[in-house]
């Protein structure tokens, strides 16, 4: 252990380099083909993006001139004003309806999607045919936007918030099915194996091995969608599916910009409040471990 015999790794590496180069040439070879493919791929994407912008007649001058108009809107909107107290109460009631549509629709979608999320997961359903059918049907439902579903449901059950709830439920059923099944597939198989080893059935493995792992993830996705759907519910209100959207549309159409800004601020406040509540709920569901 005398100091003279000590060597550094760098010295060893320098000394051994020729032998290592000969033994492992792949490590030192710069893969020019792969590098060219990467750079070429990025170039292609940038080109495609530029082509898309020109094909959609992007006119920066129009954007620039339009900015003045945008400024005018903002000026018209100040100060936000509902006009009268009774009007303000109407708007508040409609906002409550919007939030209710969002929460009901999202929760119903999540409950419906729960079994489908497991049935579309590779590690739960080994049969690829069943899984394929599940996935494609979820894709089909998801490919139709909430707004289109609202138009469909308004024709089926008539105008009003019930159509809104159904619209949110159907479109997010597809989304949750996909998100849930992906969460289930990413779950650790060790816990399920432990349950299996005790003599548990397949259902036990899902109930005790998988569900506790994925439930916090499901909860945080659902909470995010409640927030996101408060915004969506505003839009579907415009086609007559209940909520504050219809009022917003009316006020824009009749150029009552002070009403518009009041409604926008109401929606903003509601979304922030939901975000605040849901982030607290999420942390309590995930159960941040105390160190």
């Amino acid at each position: 252990m005398t100091a003279t015999t000590l060597r550094t790794l760098s010295a060893i590496a320098a000394q051994e380099a020729p032998r290592l180069r000969a033994a492992y040439p792949d490590v030192f070879r710069v893969d020019l083909k792969r590098r060219a493919l990467t750079i070429g791929g990025i170039g292609l994407l940038v080109g495609l993006f530029a082509l898309g912008l020109t094909m959609l007649e992007t006119s920066w001058t129009r954007v620039f001139l339009g900015l003045g108009e945008l400024g005018k809107f903002v000026v018209y909107m100040i100060p936000p004003d509902p006009g009268s107290w009774s009007k303000a109460l109407v708007y508040l009631g409609a906002l409550a309806e919007t939030v209710a549509i969002a929460i009901l629709g999202t929760v119903l979608a999540a409950i419906l999607a729960l079994p489908f999320g497991f049935l579309a997961a590779r590690n739960v359903v080994p049969s690829w045919i069943l899984r394929f059918l599940m996935r494609r049907s979820l894709d089909t439902i998801r490919s139709v936007d909430a707004l289109i579903w609202a138009l469909i449901w308004v024709n089926v059950v008539g105008l009003g918030p019930f159509a809104g709830v159904l619209a949110i439920m159907t479109s997010d059923f597809g989304t949750f099915g996909k998100l849930f099944s992906e969460a289930v597939e990413a779950a650790d198989a060790k816990a399920s194996e432990g349950i299996k080893s005790t003599g548990g059935s397949d259902l036990h493995q899902v109930r005790f091995g998988l569900l506790p792992q994925v439930l916090p993830l499901f909860a945080s996705q659902v909470l995010y969608y409640i927030e996101s759907n408060t915004r969506s519910a505003t839009i579907i209100g415009i086609v007559g599916a209940g909520g504050i959207g219809l009022h917003l549309y009316e006020q824009i159409r009749t150029l009552e910009y002070q009403h518009v800004s009041f409604i926008i601020i109401l929606v903003l406040a509601a979304v922030s409040l939901i975000d605040w509540v849901s982030s607290r709920l999420r942390f309590s569901v995930i159960g941040i471990r105390q160190t």
Partner: protein, 265 residues
Amino acid sequence: MLAIEGLTRRFGTKAAVSNVSLEIEPGAFVGVIGRSGAGKSTLLRLINRLVDPSEGRIVCDGVDVTALSGQALRHWRADCAMIFQQFNLVGRLDVLTNVLTGRLAKVSTGRSVLRLWGDDDKARALAALDMLDMAPFAAQRADSLSGGQQQRVAIARALVQEPKILLADEPIASLDPRNTKVVMDSLQRINKELGITILCNLHSLDLARAYCDRLVGMADGRVVFQGRGFDLTDHVARDLYGLEAGDVMEDAHEMGAGTRMAASA
């Protein structure tokens, strides 16, 4: 010379490490022993500054490590490489890239993020893997390896940091007896041939006696024993492990028998 002066770390009201003072001479192979929760892990993590101390100082070659921040802190971490019980490799990256991450403190950010490693760094990584007989696995994904192989990759990553000190946190707790020997022999060789100081947390008293030139015993966050392997009598072990002492000593005797059998085979 690494000097730890009155080091304390509290989590909430509980002190995981409590007023620990130690001096570690360069080139030593020091074993830290004690039951689970005695503060061994926290002590090592404090030295690497993965955890910040509540009180006290760590001084290495005249530099107050506890005062470092930013670039200087990153260089200190590179200087005291760490290996973990669960290996802490990036499973989705290949073995060579995992080892090359040991150079991150020394390579420019632009080059490292784009994975444009220099040939000299690749040579270092391969030489380190070669020392641990892992060079043929360079292109494999780290999570395709067995536990013992992963720990050897982790040691290679530590080696390319060209550290002064290697902190090993229960390096063999997840390994079978054969891999335990491979890993402990590798650490010994690194200590003897490269002169890197080693601070190693161990559960097994037998291994601690066999490999370490100095032992530090911890209980309830305090250092309660310092000495050489033969100073570690049954009486001291009982102090360290309390009621578990009988079990621990029995294990140690059994393992001793196993090692002797392996040696005669």
